[in-house]
């Protein structure tokens, strides 16, 4: 299990290669990469604030939950904070398991938790100003599917 919280850019391809090599006995690896996207034609960057200390603990806890629940052979979580320009990679999650279904579900579960329970807050930086991104009710609903 590897959890990284950093302001530095990272190379998702190299991270995925290293993760795959380290996941002994796995028959399936699934990865998700989140990228800063521009919905309005005006976005220049995201500025991501986080809660140092709680962020790391919370991601470790969530990664452990995913590993236990889906019997994963490995979990990788990388999440950046600070100023991240349009088109740059924000974060990635990778899961390894014996079979693909557990790997897919583990990654999906982790992403749903990351969206609504990890202490990150996105602010959009546009040419005309700045605005905090609002949490989506659909993200909260996605999380509730894992209850019970």
């Amino acid at each position: 299990m590897r959890v990284v919280v950093s302001c530095d850019p990272f190379a998702p391809g190299a991270e995925l290669d290293a993760f795959t090599k380290s996941a002994k006995g796995a028959g399936a690896v699934v990865s998700f990469t989140g990228i800063v996207r521009d919905d309005t034609g005006d976005l220049q960057a995201l500025d991501i604030e986080h809660y140092p200390g709680m962020t790391e603990t919370s991601l470790q806890h969530q990664a452990q939950s995913a590993q236990d629940r889906f019997g994963l052979a490995g979990v990788l979580v990388i999440h950046r904070y600070g100023l991240i320009p349009m088109g740059d990679t924000i974060m990635m999650v990778a899961t390894a398991a014996r079979h693909r279904k557990d790997a897919f579900q583990g990654a999906d579960f982790l992403m749903d938790y990351l969206k609504s329970r990890a202490p990150f807050w996105k602010k959009e930086i546009t040419r005309s100003g700045t605005a905090w991104v609002s949490a989506k009710e659909t993200d909260e609903a996605a999380l509730s599917q894992w209850d019970g």
């Binding site: 809660y51 990890a118 905090w132």
Partner: protein, 83 residues
Amino acid sequence: MSADILYFAWVRERIGMGRETIDLTAPTVRDLLAELAQRSDGHAAALSDLTQVRVAVDQVLVDLDQTLSNAREIAIFPPMTGG
């Protein structure tokens, strides 16, 4: 007992500071938020709609009815938008 209160994102911006230390007497999170809202117009603005506020006590997310005995660090922030 004194406790550190941490603010993040637009809660921090509206209050105008990231951290303050208070003498903690409020029995629950809900009581604490009501008390903090009295401290300034910025506090009142940040804490006017509690459906838009999340709270962590000693770095664990809690409900508004959580009791605060022995809490050292209480963080107040908007719903999270990670990923």
